[in-house]
């Protein structure tokens, strides 16, 4: 009878259009010359090129990981292009006024505030289009507060000491296959530095857009919160509908120095593929934060997009009394596959972590939570609480939970709770009998299920995320 519910699940992807701009895309293929070319295009210093080449050589020796609960045709790394940039970006515009309006319109169409006049509750945005950042708003205003917010390419030029010190310090070049690939070919992404004791005066965000076909996007984000500082950052992303699979392999590194606090939110809405499971983004991402004494790193993610996702935003709780949090909603429909979760590595004394993961699977999708909680010998009095809930819509989808717990300290306390539930025909009928149409009913039930996570998102994005779920579930019933 759950087929009844299934028929209401038809996803509409609203961001599937393309922007018509002339692009310069380098020929497909991957070798040292390509890496030199990318580095040269960005006029990088020698040390950066060396760092990339080191990563590339390591990558050549590595194997595609296969432990995740996902199946996909391995990307052919030689058939991808590793750099694509709008032609108008060849000569880097000096200010937002010089940016091709067509590019800015892309972001406007996606609902991103691109003009500083429209201060949407004070959000500064870095806009990344294929392999380049096309512009960052409020740079000057932020600079007044001492905050650096720019593309990573610019940071390499302008703040080489900071980049050199922290790049690869949390996710080493050889961390894993896709992190190594990213380290070799990353093209753009955001850089944030919050100085000591500063509370970042506005919300920071980066919006990633893939536009060009047959390219991969390899973004790199580095965020450093110096002692006692505070920042809230949000990233969003979308891509056109295409029947090919495009690769997005990102690396995000967070550093929270003593007493700092980082709140990092993601609304991931890459193209998920069509109802037959054709096309969609492969989203293979490494995200990790290093938490020093008494600092706090909080990851919140709402994952509705991508054909295949594997990502585990993690915290290394190195400093005593540091706190790590992971709040996640992962929704899969049609033939989407997600394998996502977190790793909380407790090194310091009295470190705490909280994991709240909500997985929603519909249609023929597969949704897995994979989480590691490790208490190292030094983690005296450390605590973890994990709650992991799955919601099934229909009976052809899969939900899986893979918790890994390693405790090497007897004083550490680990709590784990897991539930699985279904949107039942009875619930749906109750809603309908009260006049509520079944699509609205499913989205209401799903939103209710996600409440604990949504409340962690910055206000305006919580609303956004709710709507996104609704769209992703459109046609889910009736």
């Amino acid at each position: 009878m759950s087929e009844n519910i299934d028929q209401y699940l038809k996803s509409e992807y609203a961001a599937g259009w393309t922007t018509d701009v002339e692009s310069l895309t380098i020929p497909p293929g991957l070798n040292e010359d390509v890496i030199r070319l990318i580095s040269a295009k960005k006029q990088e210093p020698e040390w950066m090129l060396e760092w990339r080449l080191q990563a590339f050589r390591a990558w050549l020796e590595m194997e595609e990981p296969n432990w995740a609960h996902v199946k996909y045709a391995k990307p052919d790394f030689q058939s991808l292009s590793y750099y694509s940039s709008p032609k108008s970006m060849e000569e880097r515009p000096k200010s937002l006024d010089e940016v091709d309006p067509e590019l800015l319109r892309t972001y406007e169409k996606l609902g991103i505030p691109v003009h500083e006049q429209e201060v949407l509750a004070g959000v500064a945005v870095d806009m990344v289009f294929d392999s380049v950042s096309v512009g960052t708003t409020f740079r000057e205003k932020l600079k007044d507060a001492g905050v650096i917010f720019c593309s990573i390419s610019e940071a390499i030029q302008e703040y080489p000491e900071l980049v050199k010190k922290y790049l690869g310090s949390v996710v080493p070049q050889k961390d894993n296959f896709y992190a190594a690939l990213n380290s070799a070919v990353f093209s753009d992404g955001s850089f944030v530095y919050i100085p000591k004791g500063v509370r970042c005066p506005m919300e920071l965000s980066t919006y990633f857009r893939i536009n060009e076909a047959k390219t991969g996007q390899f973004e790199r984000t580095l965020l450093i919160a110096d002692e006692g500082s505070h920042v809230s950052y949000l990233e969003g992303c979308t891509a056109p509908m295409r029947d090919e699979n495009q690769l997005h392999a990102a690396v995000v590194e967070l550093v929270a120095l003593d007493d700092a606090e980082i709140k990092y939110s993601t609304v991931q809405n890459w193209y998920p593929g069509n109802e037959e499971g054709e096309g969609g983004i492969f989203n293979f991402v490494t995200k990790r934060g290093m938490a020093h004494n008494r600092s706090k790193i909080s990851w919140t993610q709402v994952e509705t997009g991508s054909a295949v996702t594997w990502k585990y935003p993690s915290c290394i709780l190195k400093g005593d009394d540091s706190i790590g949090e992971f709040y996640s909603v992962a929704l899969t429909s049609n033939y989407q596959q997600a394998d996502t979760g977190t790793k909380m590595i407790h090194l310091g004394k009295n470190t705490r972590s909280t994991i709240i993961a909500k997985g929603i699977s519909a249609k023929r999708s597969e949704n897995a939570y994979r989480g590691l909680v490790r208490m190292n010998p030094g983690a005296e009095g450390a605590r973890n609480y994990t709650q992991c809930d799955s919601l099934l819509i229909g009976d052809q989808c899969g939900a899986h939970t893979f918790p890994y717990i390693e405790s090497k300290n007897p004083t550490a306390v680990i709590e784990h709770e897991a539930t699985t539930s279904k949107v039942s025909d009875d619930q749906l009928f109750l809603c309908q009998q009260r006049g509520i149409d079944p699509e609205k009913a499913v989205s209401m039930i799903v939103n209710g299920f996600c409440k604990e996570v949504f409340k962690e998102l910055p206000m305006e994005f919580a609303v956004e995320a709710g709507k996104l779920l609704e769209v992703s579930l459109e046609g889910a019933v009736g």
């Binding site: 009875d426 009998q433 009260r434 006049g435 149409d437 079944p438 209710g448």
Partner: protein, 249 residues
């Protein structure tokens, strides 16, 4: 208001309703009694349009429209309300949110604007009081962890908010303590009006002391086998259903 003619229905190849007739006019209260498994709840579900219940014959007209041409939510919007025998839980969705979505949907179908949150909260609180349900039940998940009696009162709360034309109460009195029974009866009586009709399914004639019906029907083996006035219920209480079987046979 509701005219059911020779209705036949089945669930997963099991025939349950076999030629049921019932005529309910505005302003009337009909009680339906009958043995366990007779098809009373099935009748409610078929009228409300539950998936999986297949109508294999007959018709049901509701205010001049054929019920079976409408989606379940359209039937509800048209004013048909079913208070469930076994209300389900919807964890995480607050009662308030659910009730507002419901009232908004019904209003929207009539071309009325949604109530403001403030107005709605006020209204919901008022109705809570009427069914003797503490207000913090509005904040809890729909039926989540409610006791049996609280669930029934919550059904009544929904009914009072929606002010439907036709109320079908499926054993709303089962599992209620004496005081709660009085509350439910008061709620139902408050809604009694010349342009509203009620079908009250019950096993206990005691309820009919409080909600005095115009007609009492006995539903057995998928059809109405006997109809009468208030006194029929008293007779059933004394004699059970055995004698009807004999009469019909």
């Amino acid at each position: 208001m509701l005219k059911i003619d020779n209705l036949a229905a089945q669930v997963e190849d099991k025939v349950i309703l076999r030629g049921l007739n019932l005529d309910v006019k505005a302003g009337e209260v009909h009680a339906i009694m009958g043995p366990n498994g007779a098809g009373k709840s099935t009748l409610g579900h078929v009228l409300a349009g539950r998936a999986g219940y297949e109508v294999t014959g007959g018709s049901a007209d509701f205010d001049g429209q054929s019920l079976f041409d409408l989606e379940p939510e359209e039937r509800a919007q048209a004013g048909l309300f079913l208070a469930f025998q076994y209300p389900v839980e919807i964890p995480g969705v607050s009662n308030m949110e659910f009730l507002k979505a419901s009232v908004d949907a019904v209003r929207a179908s009539r071309g009325q604007e949604a109530l403001s949150s403030m107005d709605f909260i006020k209204l919901a609180r008022e109705k809570c009081q009427a069914v003797d349900l503490p207000q913090d039940f509005l904040k809890r998940g729909v039926n989540e962890g409610f006791s049996g009696g609280e669930k029934k009162r919550n059904e009544l709360l929904q009914m009072m908010l929606l002010e439907p034309k036709l109320c079908i109460l499926d054993e709303t009195d089962s599992g209620l303590d004496i005081d709660a029974l009085q509350v439910v009866a008061n709620g139902v009586n408050a809604l009694r009006s010349p342009d509203r009709a009620m079908i009250v399914v019950t096993h206990y004639q005691r309820l009919l002391d409080y909600i005095v019906p115009d007609y009492v029907h006995v539903l057995a083996k998928g059809k109405i086998v006997k109809s009468g006035g208030r006194e029929l219920a008293l007779e059933l209480e004394k004699q059970g259903y055995g004698w009807i079987d004999e009469e019909v046979a």
